[in-house]
């Protein structure tokens, strides 16, 4: 095989791999097994063949805005509309990065308003999220019919949660379909930070020890590497690289929190058809480290919503 035709077949393989990479998986690193396809693999490049064969699709899953909001509500925290991103700010976002981050932020705020049954705010925040989605060119993610359905079911929390879940899934899958995985990752980052920001602001320092909400904040240490891996999948994108620096700063504070978990012991209970994952956890977050964490989260979040 001469050099030119070698490059050509290599290009075809890369083209095919790249094409299959965008096969509907969100927040994932993807390569396909070329051996399984009826395309000639460049046999003169065993390193490339080996690399392609070993590769697999990897998904990094952050808690969704709806899950974050549910976790916070489950601790008994009160709703505070002052903590949400201002609806007026929606007019300020002109770049893809700011619109993506704030699509996540507004979806998280929408999830809070939904769980706390703030009927007018639900509509307002859905409209803010719609504006961000439209700005990002994903017009079908949140259509007017979705807003209408929301209005018709404004007192039905179950249907509202379904709609919030559906619109978030539409936004992310449409971005990936459009070949914008970095933007999709930014949406997830925006939603995760908003949940963490609200949680840190709702902690009552007079009731710090044994506070259930503090426990859920400590749990976010388990997701910080997932977040960094999600960003690493899109490194080289300037906006992603900026976010990575910010998240690394946050990680350095999470690193000060000790969190050890014993191995999981699964116990299946037939009557409920549920597996109970037994394990013990030990953690230590001091008020001083918590304040440092809360301040850093607020600083980073302020760069998103400004």
């Amino acid at each position: 095989m001469n050099r030119k035709s070698g490059i050509s077949s290599g290009l075809l393989v890369i083209l095919l791999s790249t094409t299959l990479l965008f096969n509907g998986c969100k927040s994932c690193s993807t390569k396909e097994q070329v051996d399984d396809l009826s395309i000639e693999v460049p046999k003169d490049n065993p390193a490339l063949v080996n690399d392609i064969n070993r590769a697999k699709q990897i998904f990094m899953a952050l808690p969704s805005p709806l899950e974050s909001a549910m976790l916070i509500k489950s601790t008994g925290a009160k709703f505070d509309p002052e903590l949400l991103n201002s609806l007026e700010n929606a007019d300020n976002y002109a770049t893809s990065k700011s619109m993506a981050l704030n699509l996540g932020v507004y979806t998280c705020d929408l999830s809070f308003t939904s769980l706390y049954e703030q009927t007018q705010l639900i509509i307002d925040y859905m409209n803010a999220a719609k504006k961000m989605a439209e700005g990002l060119g994903i017009l079908r993610a949140i259509e007017q019919s979705t807003i209408d359905r929301l209005e018709q079911n404004i007192n039905n929390t179950e249907v509202i949660m379904e709609i919030v879940s559906e619109t978030f899934m539409n936004s992310n899958s449409d971005l990936v379909d459009n070949g914008q995985p970095a933007i999709a990752a930014m949406v997830l980052v925006g939603g995760w930070f908003e949940g963490l920001y609200i949680a840190t602001r709702l902690v009552d320092m007079k009731d710090f020890n044994g506070n259930k909400l503090v426990g859920r904040i400590i749990d976010q240490k388990l997701s910080i590497d997932i977040l960094l891996n999600l960003l690493a999948d899109n490194k080289g994108n300037p906006a992603i690289d900026e976010l990575t620096v910010q998240v690394q700063k946050l990680k350095s504070i999470f690193d000060k929190i000790s969190l050890t978990t014993s191995p999981v012991r699964p116990e299946y209970v037939e009557t409920t058809n549920t597996t109970y994952l037994k394990s013990e956890v030990k953690s230590n977050l001091t008020p001083a480290v918590f304040q440092e964490l809360a301040t850093t989260v607020a600083e980073i979040r302020s760069t998103f919503v400004k």
Partner: protein
């Protein structure tokens, strides 16, 4: 010269096909994956991809002690018996659907929050010389608050 023309055309055809496959996967996840969550609230995250026989996918996610979870992993009809195995942070297997007749979903609760890894595999069934089957596989999570 012909090669210069052929590659952009091939690229366009492949990309057009990809958009179509993506749309199919999203539609499959909505129509087949989400209903498997039953009474659990779908978290809104979307994880679906085309897998070829023999191929694996991995997913990392933190699960919280306040919640009950259901994971639903569903493959298109031409992919028989999609396998999934769940590992804890110390790489211990805590569940595999191979022991449950390749169940499509698994319900679980946690005593303490954990990061878990799910490995999804499409087993090889094609005979030598046959084109391996491929199709969409969706991984969906639903949750409920513990009472």
């Amino acid at each position: 010269m012909r090669l210069k023309l052929i590659f952009p055309i091939v690229a366009l055809v492949l990309l057009a096909g990809t958009v179509s496959v993506n749309g199919q996967c999203k539609s499959f996840a909505k129509k087949v994956g989400i209903p498997e969550l039953g009474a659990y609230i779908h978290d809104g995250n979307y994880h679906a991809a085309v897998l070829v026989e023999g191929e694996e996918a991995e997913l990392y996610k933190t699960f919280y002690s306040d919640m009950k979870y259901r994971v639903a992993i569903v493959g298109e009809e031409n992919l028989s018996n999609v396998e999934f195995t769940v590992y804890d942070a110390t790489k211990n297997v805590i569940y595999t659907n191979k022991n449950s007749n390749y169940a499509k979903s698994w319900d679980f609760e946690l005593q303490s929050s954990q990061q878990l890894k799910l490995v999804v595999k499409v087993p090889e069934h094609s005979k030598s010389g046959e084109t391996p089957a491929s199709g969409c596989v969706s991984i969906m999570f639903g949750f409920k608050l513990k009472k």
